[in-house]
Subunit: 454 residues, 2 copies
């Protein structure tokens, strides 16, 4: 560990320079306006990994390009680890709330501020730097390493998902290390044993051919904004449970033991830090249970009518919402989206046209705490933090993991250095450079441990 640390310390300013270069690519995957940034970014990843003697390939998919790299020189006697992460990022709006340009990394108080600083460029980059460190310090990698860095994690992982049948041979590995996770807090190490699934929908309600004057038609036309609000309000019962019939049918209740184990690691302070004073957990559930063991129904966006400066007395022709549900193990995204769509169609005000568009969904995934990889990562964390490594789940989703795990038949573990206060998916996303450095060391040390414990 000392030799690893010494090498990283010596190289750290060079590493950061390259990291910041990576952050400048505007790889927003949900907005087609940024398409060309993706190929520029994969070309850059190509040269980064080529320098580390990886065989590299940018794989065109039905969606955005997937970057792949492998170094199998460790040979047949050691396991193969597939490292998964993504180079795409979330949109940046509301842009006016950013204190510095989201695509010009800026260091303030030891944190680098940029879109993707953490999620997931920062994390996949420390994993890549772990490989570089091991090559420099040990002269070779302790295990066979494959990197799968996709370009549309934030947009449903379409390309990788649809290409899995063809790619599963290439991506084949004994272990799947998902480097897109976080810690309960900056001083507490934890391995991540699962994330929620997700399914997203867009709904649109139409009440008239064109926008109407709210005087001439006020009292006459049923306002789609009102119909939308009333429809959304129907989606929960009085205990705060999602009111869609059969929504919870497939949910597996955690055991008392599981609840106790995971409660140790749940970051209860996050809600307070974020300024939250109104909570959405179902009646009788802890925030940990609600966030890690229960599905959600969330209105990510809502819009209708005039929303600009000043006022416009309009009854809009249309109102719309973007809805997503986080899912837990055993829930099927297609089944859930069908249940939600049926419910909304049954409940919408008669005479208002409802359209529902369902996006690509993803299942929840779970890993085992006693796999070789899980133990190696936990061991590396414990060396760095000098304290026991906890087990966590994530309320978030990494859409492809369940399918990827099924396709290659590997044991999965999630790791990472994200904190709830890092503003991922929000303005002023940032990552502490101290944690970034620990990320390099954790991955490098974990891979050494995998070799050594065999």
């Amino acid at each position: 560990m000392d030799r690893l640390r010494a090498w990283v310390d010596g190289q750290f300013s060079n590493i950061c320079e390259e990291f910041f270069h990576f952050l400048r690519f505007k790889t927003i995957s949900t907005d087609p306006a940024y398409l060309s940034e993706h190929s520029r970014c994969t070309a850059w990843l190509d040269s980064l990994f080529r320098e580390m003697k990886f065989k590299v390939e940018t794989i065109e998919t039905s969606g955005l390009p997937l970057f792949y790299a492998e170094n199998l020189e460790a040979g047949k006697n050691v396991p193969t680890v597939l490292v998964y992460g993504h180079y795409d990022v979330q949109p940046v709006d509301p842009i006016d709330l950013w204190k510095s340009d989201p695509f010009e990394p800026t260091v303030r108080n030891g944190n680098v501020y940029a879109r993707g600083a953490l999620d997931d460029k920062g994390q996949i980059f420390f994993a890549a730097m772990a490989a570089r460190t091991l090559l420099a310090v040990d002269g070779k990698l302790p295990v066979n390493l494959k990197f799968c860095i996709e370009g549309e994690e934030e947009n449903g992982s379409k390309g990788l998902s649809e290409g899995l049948g063809l790619l599963k041979q290439k991506l084949g590995a004994d272990y799947l290390l998902v480097v897109d996770c976080g810690l309960p807090d900056a001083d507490t190490p934890a391995i991540d044993l699962g994330g929620r699934g997700i399914v997203a929908m867009e709904i649109s309600l139409r009440g008239s051919k064109e926008d109407l004057h709210s005087g001439l038609f006020g009292g006459v036309a049923y306002n789609p904004n009102r119909a939308l609000a009333e429809l959304i309000a129907e989606c929960w019962d009085e205990d705060g449970r999602v009111a869609v019939p059969h929504f919870y049918d497939d949910v597996i209740e955690p055991s008392e033991e599981e609840k106790k184990e995971f409660a140790k690691a749940y970051g209860k302070g996050h809600a307070k830090e974020a300024g939250i004073a109104a909570f959405s957990a179902e009646q009788g559930l802890s925030l940990m249970e609600a966030n890690w063991f229960r599905p959600t129904f969330e209105i990510n966006g809502i819009s209708g009518g005039y929303t600009g400066a000043g006022f416009k007395t309009v009854i809009p022709a249309q109102a719309q919402a973007k809805i997503s549900c986080r899912l837990v193990p055993n829930q099927d995204p297609k089944k859930i989206s069908r249940q939600v769509a049926d419910f909304l169609k049954a409940k919408v005000k008669k005479g208002i046209d409802l359209e529902v568009k369902v996006h690509q969904g993803a299942r929840s995934f779970r890993g085992k705490a006693d796999s070789l990889l899980a133990k190696a990562v936990a061991g590396a964390y414990e060396e760095i933090f000098q304290k026991p490594c906890l087990k966590i789940l994530s309320g978030g989703s990494i859409p492809i993991v369940a399918d990827l795990q099924d396709a290659i038949g590997a044991e999965v573990v999630g790791m990472g250095y994200g904190l709830a206060s890092d503003n991922i998916h929000a303005p002023n996303e940032h990552f502490g450079l101290d944690r970034f450095k620990k990320g390099i060391l954790t991955v490098a040390r974990a891979l050494q441990k995998m070799r050594d414990s065999r």
Copy 2:
């Protein structure tokens, strides 16, 4: 009438050229970005009325400039009529639904398409052209004429409202002709005996300091979009009445006779033409009653979270709505907005911060069917249409009229040639040039009749 018509026919292409020039000024009063268009427009009105031998003045107010013109050469033995209208227009979004540039008037099938083609540039311009026609045909005006053409009717008439104390002497008149109204349909003449008042509010709900990741905080944070939807859904009871306590307390019920009289003129086909299949009238009320005799509670705009292309799995920090209530005689805008604000504050989800911003309100107004002006306008309509002139009310609002009427103590009548299908306040606003021409003749003939009937 024949001489009036012959002169207008001869001059019509010149008149349209000037009209289209007027339509090109981007006088959107709710958006500060268009401020300079207002002074360019009043300068143009200045030269238009100066050529007609009016004494002109652009009056600076606490809001946007007010254009004033008077020609009192008819003398003390005839009445003075104040013609009220406005040169400002509504915003143009959603701009992509316009078939031609909203500020480049385009004629298709005998209609001119432009923002303000009808509301209210088209109408105030035909009134101005009526004065020009009378001067050309009769050599002088039959009555004393004043024009008050304001620049912020679409934004609460702040300047004129606050300046009324100082201006009431200048604007003093026996009759107030509001040229900002419509007809039940293209073949049915009607005088307008009143419009609804209005009060507008903006509300904003905050649930956290910054936008949150819907995975990390889903099941934890109460989503402001949800809180907003639930709050809006509370605003009506199951009979479709506004649920705000005391909201209807001051409403005066129309008599059976009034209902019968006004039902004759109510355009029942408009809702069907507009493609409306869901209605908002309270249980047991006709659309006419709901539109002309009842107040409304309307969500003109709603927004929160990510509403751009694709998807963003966010729990927004804030969600907001723009609300307006149309009011009937005897309802006080300040009292209503206070009641609404109190109700919303009582009902909002605990822990969600609610801010309410109340805009300038306006009372409803009513005119008498048997005033000299009302009879003259009705008579002019009957000459042109060769059929009886009906009486209508308007569901819309002309914010300043009630205060203006009180300030100058005049009898008020509304007239105009708008149709519900003209898309005012919506994309592709238009005005039939045949109706525009009839507008000139109606005003000119009505003013002659006022002189003759004395």
